[in-house]
């Protein structure tokens, strides 16, 4: 069977006005506490905006992919400005698809949840459950799409 090609996965979503951070860590050496993750998310948000300013042509939507020595970072921005980013192994495939699937899960299990308050940290069991499933098992399903 396939082995998922990332050794760690952080999923973070936050929007423009407030850093509403939901940070999921699927196994890594470099874990960090909440304060650090909040700082990093804010930093990412600003850099995403600055990169739009530096574009040589019009119509730039910010950073989609950041490649570093030991990891890759894929970012997806929804139409409302909420950003989802995932950190994975270099050249891990299907990360864009994964982000879109996670966005669908977010809209289904979080936004449509009547008990979820906007801008608050996400505490929806179904979301967490489905998220871990998508991340670990559904590789074949992703391939089929």
């Amino acid at each position: 069977m396939y082995v998922w090609h990332f050794h760690c996965l952080f999923i973070c979503c936050f929007n423009m006005l407030l850093v509403n951070l939901n940070w999921k860590d699927y196994g890594s050496a470099g874990r960090m506490d909440t304060n650090d993750s909040l700082r990093l998310a804010s930093l990412w948000h600003s850099m995403h905006a600055i990169s739009q300013q530096l574009s040589p042509t019009t119509g730039c939507n910010g950073i989609d992919l950041l490649r570093a020595d030991t990891f890759d970072l894929h970012c997806f921005q929804s139409l409302t400005g909420t950003k989802f980013f995932v950190i994975c192994e270099p050249s891990a495939p299907y990360m864009e698809l994964l982000l879109k699937v996670i966005y669908e899960l977010y809209t289904d299990y979080v936004l449509k949840n009547p008990f979820y308050e906007m801008e608050m940290p996400i505490r929806c069991e179904l979301f967490d459950l489905n998220l871990s499933q998508v991340v670990q098992k559904d590789r074949v399903a992703l391939l089929a799409r």
């Binding site: 760690c8 990093l40 600055i50 040589p56 019009t58 950073i63 950041l66 570093a68």
Partner: protein, 177 residues
């Protein structure tokens, strides 16, 4: 040179052989801009080949670019999932310390970055679909070493004004795919 393990100049040749770039060099240059900064943030060279949109004046633009790179380096060093022991966010990093990024991509451009052990930062901004430009950046760094650093009339940490360097640079960039 251990830093450029195996890929570039030997003692005998003046310039390394150009890495394979098969572009015919016609109109529609793939590269948009090139920046070279030293470790203090002084912009040594800003070269522009194709830039339809300028949002800021040159000084602000250089500062913004340098600031973005500084923050991105701290960010990647801190968020690196493979090392457990990391410094605090915001502490200035030495060249080569911590995990560094080499490229990022947006829908309109791709920014390729290289930092040498002496703190010289090379930034090449190209079209969004170009491949890995690390070899190209190494070649440009070698051009810098040959035509700028070895030039006895060049004062370090001042903007570069060597004609030979810019001519060779333009020629090389035209061959990039």
């Amino acid at each position: 040179m251990q830093f450029f393990s195996g890929s570039t100049s030997t003692e005998s040749s003046l310039l390394p052989a150009a890495p394979p770039g098969t572009g015919a060099g016609g109109p529609g240059n793939n590269a948009h801009m090139l920046y070279i900064f030293n470790r203090a943030g002084v912009c040594l060279l800003y070269r522009e080949w194709n830039r339809p949109l300028r949002t800021l004046d040159p000084q602000q633009d250089h500062k913004l670019m340098f600031g973005l790179l500084f923050s991105l380096r701290s960010f990647t060093a801190k968020i690196d999932p493979t090392t457990a022991e990391k410094g605090n966010l915001g502490v200035p990093l030495l060249p080569g310390q911590g995990c560094s990024f080499y490229s990022f991509k947006t829908n309109t451009y791709q920014l390729n970055f290289m930092e040498t052990p002496s703190g010289i930062k090379l930034i090449l901004i190209t079209h969004s679909r170009t491949g890995d430009q690390r070899e190209a950046l190494k070649y440009i760094y070698n051009l810098y070493v040959e035509y700028v650093v070895k030039n006895p009339l060049y004062v370090p940490s001042t903007p570069i004004q060597c004609d030979l360097f810019t001519k060779n640079l333009d020629q090389y960039v035209r061959t990039l795919i």
